[in-house]
Symmetry: C2
Subunit: 426 residues, 2 copies
């Protein structure tokens, strides 16, 4: 079956994945000489840095999701398709997808990364990942339902398990979830559940290395840990989780923690795609590309963002899997493709590190900029400003601002609703 | 198993269902001499009059849902339980529920009504009901997914089926859904799907009686129909649907309409509850009550709202199944129960009809007040004001206002997202 996309005399760029990199590329190719087909499993772009606020009932999924069709309403050369890609056929220059065959002149793989459970089957079955708004929403529903269940059990150990929360992975996501839940333990949860004893509840953050936020500066790690501890989070460093049966977590040192909620934010692995030469697939499923983001050995296939492994003198082990790399690669690739259509030579990628940041509960954040590092209240203001400005869409920006202001002044995450579509007929 | 609810020396009122009636009753009993247990399947109250806006991507489910725990944060005598009631044992004065046995001194059944498919199995299987936010969200997801699918089919009849929408039932819900979808056909949908020919799309409203909004005045019905027709809705009166196989609707007169989306808003039936004497269950599963809302033959069991059938000289066939009746009955029953605890006699219910209204697309509504009936733009303003003021919670009111203003000025229902929790582990 041929997918029903009108052929034109334009060359066709097919982009798989509308994350930070794919979306940037498609936007930059709007109204270019190319026909662009953007394929994604969802009909919306997801703003991953705020997933943790969806999980902790601070924001609606819709506030951090943006429909592709809205983004590209005025771009006649962009065609959106909600589909899964099954296989690349590089010889025929076409994709097999859930909606039929899609031919391409240039293919850009921007499928990103998903949660890495490192093969632990029990973890895969019982832990809650947080790599999509759908997963973040499922985590919210699960936490709230556990508190409802805690009310009706007589046994204290069981109740403790329902109230405890264990977060594995001390990166930005783990730190942000832990901080917010610790705040909620002090503020909204005891008000919502006056019948429960919140001394039973403990938020645990387990990190395998010797510091949280290990991709940031030492001072950021130190301060973030200090803030977490002050909020009451039990931070365990050099902690290795070996098993989880849905009720209790076992650590390598034999420690056992009772919890029905284990949030797994401990690593990512590239999403799989069939059809490429296995030799270009490196560790963590990343696809080896050159400094033009061209997949090694393929002249018309590119990969960018989290899924791509590009090494350079400055980054001999590959670039970090963060939004900024994806966005900058998307931007350059658009320029290169447009240049190509005009017969110009392509330029190699140079990553400009704009810094990184993470927030820890109310009023506190840590910020590493290239020339300055700071922490505390001002860092938190900067964190909010940067995230608000990165959100697609003025209305979403406005709604998030109102939600933040509301939650801040009322100490109240107001979205404590367990809502599921009743008939998931799709 | 005993449900884990602390016994006190207060008499216990158990309310099943936190809809308009149950919520009003519980609020009025806050800080009274009773211990109140509010049992609901969900952890939130749903504002049913705006379900249609959730279904048509104008509002988030959370904007019209409100967590019970938030409502009752300051009421120490109110206990919320998310549970299903399995059976009433009136002799032992207790309920069997999914969380164990719950004893009561007084029981109030406020379980409302659900969609009535009148036994049509095919309809039950394929039609989309709209009696919960979950169902409204499922309808939204389904409509959007159908448009995505319409892009990829080559066959025009199939595409027509995916684009057409048939609404069965010309009450307020049917009229409001039809009006909004007809607006969307003219505004946002062609912009989102420039590859589709919207001449293929038709919104059908099928009503079994001789007029839409048959519970309102003749002039309201007439005007509503006029507005719908002007918007391009195909309104069929005296139309009886006999079958639907998920792809085509068959009417009694042999007419066939192709559609993958049939919204069923054609009738309600009381939710079932076990354990009452079958003789008190009247047509439509309603529970027969006297003018004190006391279930006939039971001294400590009451029923109110949609589930209750109370006849009076003014309403020989029972009161209408609308929010106002439920709210007023909840209010009176609270007074009566409080009076009872002080040894006062109970007062009989007299319904004060405050009027009714419905909106049809942008700028148009029909309003019947006791002394005056009006239609058009001013009616629409009144409709908006009344609905906004009825919403629980200042923040929800603010967010709805912003959404409405945004959608109005941009002609853009911005929530066109197909989001589902990924792991519905609950």
């Amino acid at each position: 079956m041929q997918a029903n996309i009108k052929s034109t005399n334009q060359k066709r760029v097919v982009i798989i994945g509308g994350g930070f990199g794919g979306l940037k590329l498609a936007r930059e190719l709007s109204d270019s000489a190319y026909q662009v087909v953007l394929i994604d499993k969802n009909n919306y772009h997801q703003f991953q840095p705020l997933f943790y606020q969806v999980a902790t009932a601070g924001l609606e999924p819709s506030a951090i999701s943006f429909p592709f069709r809205k983004v590209f309403q005025k771009a006649n050369n962009i065609h959106i398709r909600v589909a899964e890609v099954l296989k690349i056929d590089s010889d025929k220059k076409q994709l097999e997808t859930s909606i039929g065959i899609v031919a391409f002149d240039y293919l850009v793989i921007a499928i990103g990364a998903d949660t890495n459970f490192f093969g632990n089957q029990n973890m895969m079955k019982h832990a809650m990942p947080m790599k999509s708004v759908g997963e973040a929403l499922a985590l919210r529903n699960s936490i709230l339902q556990n508190y409802e269940n805690a009310l009706i059990v007589a046994d204290e150990a069981t109740r403790k398990g329902l109230m405890n929360i264990v977060i594995v992975g001390g990166g930005p996501t783990g730190v942000e979830v832990a901080g917010t839940l610790a705040e909620m333990k002090k503020t909204v949860l005891p008000k919502d559940y006056p019948e429960l004893d919140f001394n039973l509840m403990q938020v645990h953050l387990l990190e395998g290395s010797s510091r949280v936020l290990s991709s940031m500066s030492e001072i950021a790690s130190e301060k973030a840990k200090e803030y977490l501890v002050k909020l009451g989070v039990d931070v365990a460093l050099n902690a290795r989780v070996v098993d989880y049966d849905g009720q209790k977590v076992t650590l390598a040192d034999g420690t056992i923690i009772l919890t029905n909620t284990l949030v797994w934010a401990a690593g990512v692995i590239g999403n799989k795609i069939e059809g490429l030469n296995p030799e270009v697939i490196a560790r963590g499923n990343r696809i080896m590309v050159d400094e033009l983001n061209q997949v090694k050995g393929y002249s018309s296939i590119f990969a960018l963002g989290d899924i791509a492994l590009m090494t350079s003198t400055a980054y001999p082990n590959g670039h970090p899997q963060v939004a900024q790399v994806a966005i900058q690669q998307g931007e350059l690739l658009a320029k290169n493709l447009i240049g190509l259509s005009k017969g110009k030579a392509m330029k190699t990628f140079v990553y400009k590190d704009l810094g990184s940041m993470a927030t820890v509960g109310r009023n506190k954040a840590v910020v590493d900029l290239p020339n300055i590092k700071f922490q505390g209240f001002f860092a938190w203001m900067v964190w909010m400003f940067v995230h608000l400005m990165s959100i697609v869409g003025i209305k979403n920006r406005l709604l998030i601002f109102i939600n933040w202001a509301w939650n801040y002044f009322t100490y109240d995450q107001s979205l404590r609703l367990i809502i599921k579509p009743k008939f998931p007929k799709l």
